[in-house]
Amino acid sequence: MSHSPSSFDEMIAADGTIREAYQGYRDWYDGQDQAALRRKGKEAEGFFRKTGITFNVYGDNAGEERLIPFDMIPRIITAREWRKLSKGIEQRVRALNAFLHDIYHRQEIVRAGRLPQRLIAENAAFLPQMVGMVPPGGVYTHIVGIDLVRTGPDEFMVLEDNARTPSGVSYMLENRETMMAMFPELFSKVPVRPVQDYPRRLAKSLAACAPTCAGENPVVAVLTPGIYNSAYFEHSFLADQMGAELVEGSDLRVIDGRVAMRTTRGYTPIDVIYRRVDDEYLDPLTFNPESALGVPGIMDVYRAGRITIANAPGTGIADDKAIYSFMPEIVEFYTGEKPLLANVPTWRCSEAGSLTYVLDNLADLVVKEVHGSGGYGMLIGPTSSKKEIADFARKLRAKPENYIAQPTLALSTVPIFTKAGLAPRHVDLRPFVLVSPQGIDITPGGLTRVALKKGSLVVNSSQGGGTKDTWVLED
């Protein structure tokens, strides 16, 4: 699909004027020397390589570390826009947690007939081990990433909820660092809300969820699958910034009913695990017996209330794409309010009427796997060949319940810096949300992902997407 004029550009209005959010920035930008900016762009890449901000690639070039391209034009959101957005995000996150509590207890939402039983019962993300237990602090999703897309001045929609282990926050932080290092004077001209205290807030939020057996200063550790994981940089970065230990499964053991880490002085109990390991690998005694990444017996300690696992196991049930289509009902059911943030209209292919419609309109739709992620296994109708569409239709007919479909959205664009000057590219936004008994804390901004190819709608870093610094302006 080529970039259509109907896409909303966040910097430049249809009549060529600069929108409010970008006025301060453009004043500065127009006074810059283009050649100097190009040089800065090159410097930024060197900076990322040097600091090791890379992600690992699976598959063909396994083991190779790559950079996520960084674009130096910021994505800017006004204070007014952000206020509205954050209310919607907060409402959604509250609903997600209430939903998770309900699903693992009385399932009132199913009893009330608002959600089909089979969506829970037949869902691999539902963990029977979580039934009837309340995680320490009552929180299920301690860290949430809500993926938003924009289609108009006031039209933000939720594309996806990330309730398991959302990644990308290190890029939000490093992008800001990079921008401040590259253009310090810019930040004295344009008032931007800071994001740099995220790690401190994360540490505080996690500590507030510690189990009752924890001391006054709960011990927090980040659990990583290790240096070959694609997000290892982020794991070490966050542990470093929080002053927490970065542990691997082999460092941990259950001793005297607590999870403990092997230090040079012996085993020391820990209270909160920020785990970046999937549910399936968390405990070989409970889940995948082959897993070497987890801790044997951790689920027993967890059920005894003597360790906090963030996010709680089994939260995947809330960000499943089939559940996603019910989010408007879910928000209303638990908050008693109309959803402030809309969903992208979604057809559930499991329903016969929807399936017929989707099959008839494949060329105009985006079809996704219910359990897929990373932009893989999906069909983007408008950019696919007749043969690709026909092949996909066969897969769809064979297993309709595996798919959902959405209209091809006219995603908003923000300019990127190219050799030929500014050029519009499609973007999305992932704000990061922290949840603890003390409240919901949303970092102003988040991670903006941008499709670097002209006209492309795929922003995933694994498929040629880049990132931008995201600014929320001060009031």
Binding site: I227, D240, L246, D251, R262, T264
Partner: protein, 315 residues
């Protein structure tokens, strides 16, 4: 501090040290070979391979062809050689990455940049004309890392484990150089004081970057005894065995102080220290230099193993 983190910083330091020492050894070998006829030059390169303990691996790949370019490429970059400088820098960087939270940003960046730049430098076989420059680049990068460590790391347990790794490795390397050269020189006992002897010993000094210091201390007088004493017992020289032992002791003491207790490594360390206090170069040579060195390498290794165990490096 995690046992795995102590392990990672310890090995990061060991690999960096070994990479540097290998490049110094090559430098000395190169210089020796230049001043010799082809046959003696091959002998010289053979002893370089022997010193790093890679004879079997080398001959598996190149039989007994000890021509210079084969040897230095093997030790610098050959894929099948896990002990190549490139492989060791990579291993150091992998260890650094796995303990990144224990390192300062500057140390991590120095290690990472070293790896990036040496990967580039060693991407293609090294020609004779470029060898000096390449070896210089290796040394420079290692100096950078050392500077970052010295200038930015807290003097705590993390620093102690890093330093212990450095000096275990350095002591081992210096001892091996001495041992191999001793063998080479044994048949020439009669030549003590002869010029060939001097060149050999000078090469030993060069391999540990000690030729100028030694000359300065001894007014240019080269003799085997003086050099052996310098490399084994001189506490002022940072690559002597006595210096390494002293640093090991003080870093182990740092750990005992911070932890409030000693470990079995401390006991072994005391025993190792005693051999240095009680020996003069005369008693060492009388008892046999080779025997002394062999015993030293074993004790040094025992201390390393005790540290790995006492501080729970492995699950």
């Amino acid at each position: 501090m995690l046992g795995r983190t102590a392990n990672g910083t310890f090995w990061m330091a060991r690999y960096l040290e070994r990479a540097e020492n290998t490049s110094r050894l090559l430098e000395a070998g190169f210089r020796m070979a230049l001043t010799r006829d082809a046959i003696t030059a091959h002998e010289e390169w053979r002893s370089v391979i022997l010193t790093v303990g890679a004879t079997a691996a080398y001959e598996a790949a190149h039989d007994s062809d000890y021509s210079g370019d084969k040897v230095w490429n093997f030790l610098l970059r050959e894929k099948g050689n896990p002990g190549s400088v490139l492989a060791m820098i990579e291993a150091a960087r992998t260890n650094a990455r796995s303990v990144r939270t224990a390192l300062t940003r500057e140390v991590w960046e120095a290690v990472n940049e070293s790896w990036m730049s040496l990967k580039e430098v060693l991407a293609r076989p090294v020609r004779e004309a470029a060898l000096g420059e390449v070896l210089g680049a290796v040394r420079r990068q290692m100096t950078l890392v050392r500077g970052a460590m010295d200038g930015t790391m807290l003097r705590n347990e993390i620093h102690n484990f890093t330093r212990i790794g450095t000096f275990i490795e350095r002591a081992d390397n210096t001892a091996r150089i001495l041992d191999v050269k001793y063998y080479v020189l044994l048949p020439s006992v009669a030549w003590v004081g002869s010029s060939l002897d001097n060149v050999q010993w000078e090469s030993v000094l060069r391999a540990v970057a000690g030729e100028r210091a030694y000359r300065w201390l001894n007014a240019g007088k080269m003799d085997a005894r003086g050099i052996a004493s310098f490399l084994i017992l001189d506490q002022r020289f940072p690559r002597s065995l006595a210096f390494c032992v002293d640093k090991l002791r003080s870093n182990l003491f740092g750990l005992a102080h911070e932890y409030g207790c000693e470990s079995s490594a401390h006991q072994l360390m005391r025993e190792l220290g005693t051999t240095f206090h009680q020996n003069s170069i005369e008693t060492i040579l009388d008892g046999g230099l080779h025997e002394f060195i062999t015993a030293f390498i074993a004790s040094n290794q025992q201390v390393a193993q005790a540290i790995e165990q006492d501080y729970r490096f492995y699950a």
